[in-house]
């Protein structure tokens, strides 16, 4: 095999480990997306009461002892499950992989709220006596916790940290992992995003106060981006981590390759704490295209970020229209309509749901669109039923977040 220096700069996905509200591995998750199966269900959390959420059902004890699970966090547990599954899926000879050369880069929307709320609730029963505040609080709430728990569980001694990037974190983790491989900081990266956010009442209460929390009699119909009757976000938990390698290494060991990260970009709005900015979102997508040396027409699928808030969806549609409005062959979909908003995991989960299209040529739909909002009526929007288009070469995945953080990644079929 001829190796070129350029192959050392190319970063490919060789393993995927995920847990979503509608699947705990890529096969089940993809099947649910093609079948139109939602993972949103009824949910109850302290103070807020009855609401809706996407809840994961993976077996926490597959890779953790009960003691380690008790000591750690839900985000850590999700991260461990996804990392172990990604490594197993990659087929790498893990026992003979140098743990010093493995890096762990995990995107999070937030971390620490769950444990802090739990402790405050606990000491309330003791008249707020801080002497019963847990000594586990700090190791559970340090911002690197989910990534650190993965290294503890798997004996990884290379770099680890989380990337705080609001709801763009899944993409940001993937980008970080790729960049660290290109910089030579590691030879193998575990990267993506996780979220435990459904276990903090604050996120539900915050969205409710903002008028942005979804409500619907039928939980499976609650997350409805682009529909006129959309009324907000369904908060979900989840995780999706990728095994990343340089193409040269992956090719040398004959690894299965899901795709190559050929373009990525991150931008800031600098305009508002909450409201998105379509100009900067469009610039982000255009930057990713330019860096990949592509035109809009080259992208077969745009995986949108849209969360089903009334204004956010319109803003993203405006941005997508500016970049892809002239491309007749680009299809557009949305995965939150199935799984809700998995926060820090959203970017990586939504990308993963689309990657099988490289091989089956099918674009999964945006479900729950009964009455398409004219302002969201993008050409190429795949509504309610999957569409077979064949020949998918490039997928662009958007992920945006509060404080005006935007990300886009482009994956090429290999």
């Amino acid at each position: 095999m001829i190796r070129s220096d350029q192959d050392d700069r190319r970063i490919v996905i060789t393993g995927i480990g995920l847990t979503a509200p509608n699947g705990d591995n890529l096969g089940d998750y993809r099947a649910a997306l093609l079948a139109g199966r939602s993972g949103v269900d009824r949910y109850n959390i302290r103070y807020v009461g009855d609401t809706l959420a996407g809840q994961c059902r993976f077996d926490e004890l597959r890779y953790q002892s009960r003691k380690d699970r008790r000591r750690g966090t839900r985000a850590g547990s999700i991260g461990i499950y996804c990392a172990q599954e990604a490594i197993a899926d990659s087929g790498v000879d893990w026992p003979n992989t140098n743990p010093e050369r493995v890096g762990v880069y995990i995107g999070v929307t937030e971390h620490g709220n769950v444990e802090t709320e739990n402790e405050i609730n606990e000491i309330k029963a003791f008249d707020y006596d801080t002497k019963v505040w847990s000594h586990h609080h700090n190791p559970r709430t340090v911002a690197n916790n989910p990534a650190g728990e993965i290294t503890l569980n798997m004996g990884i001694t290379g770099p680890h940290y989380t990337i705080g990037a609001a709801c763009a974190a899944g993409n940001a983790g993937l980008i970080q992992g790729a960049q660290m491989l290109q910089l030579g900081e590691c030879d193998f990266a575990i990267a993506g995003g996780v979220s435990e956010s459904i276990h903090t009442f604050g996120i539900f209460a915050g969205f409710a106060s903002q008028g942005a929390l979804a409500a619907h009699d039928d939980p499976t119909r609650a997350s409805r981006p682009f529909d006129k009757a959309r009324n907000g976000i369904v908060v979900s938990e989840g995780g999706c981590l990728y095994a990343l390698e340089r193409y040269s290494d992956a090719a040398l060991r004959g690894a299965k390759i899901y795709g190559e990260l050929v373009g990525h970009a991150m931008t800031s709005d600098a305009t508002d704490f909450v409201l998105p900015n379509p100009t900067q979102q469009a610039r982000c997508m255009e930057m990713a295209l330019r860096r990949a040396g592509l035109n809009a027409e080259d992208i077969a699928i745009v995986s949108t970020h849209a969360t089903a808030t009334p204004s956010g969806d319109i803003q993203e549609c405006e941005a997508v229209r500016r970049v892809f409005g002239g491309s007749s062959r680009t299809k557009i979909n949305n995965t939150k309509s199935f799984i809700g908003h998995a926060m820090g995991a959203a970017g990586s989960l939504e990308l993963a749901g689309n990657l099988p299209a490289f091989h089956d040529g099918v674009v999964h739909a945006t479900i729950n669109v009964d009455d398409l909002d004219p302002e969201c009526a993008l050409d190429g929007l795949v509504i309610n039923e999957p569409q077979e288009i064949g020949g998918v070469e490039y997928i662009l995945n958007n992920s945006f977040g509060m404080l005006g953080i935007n990300s886009a990644v482009i994956i090429r079929r290999v």
Binding site: R71, V132, H135
Partner: protein, 83 residues
């Protein structure tokens, strides 16, 4: 509480802290660490649980008394006998 009741309480706490361990064959005279995987954070859990459940305050200098079941029960009994 009697010594047997205190032992049962400590055993219950241990079952929470070390859920993967089989405690049925615990030797009360041997140190906990010889028989199961316990680290300093686990011992702090024992102290914390006694504080939460029974308002028992154990000074840091006295943590050495929590080495085995026998020494733990002997140490706790004067504090808990009237509970």
């Amino acid at each position: 509480m009697t010594k047997d009741e205190i032992r049962a309480e400590v055993l219950d706490i241990l079952a929470d802290i070390a859920p993967d361990e089989d405690l049925s064959s615990l030797d009360d005279s041997k140190s906990f660490r010889e028989q199961m995987e316990l680290d300093s954070m686990d011992f702090l859990d024992i102290v914390m649980e006694l504080r939460k459940r029974h308002r028992v305050q154990i000074p840091e200098d006295d943590y050495v008394n929590l080495a085995s079941m026998d020494s733990t029960v002997e140490y706790l009994h004067p504090m808990m006998k009237d509970m």
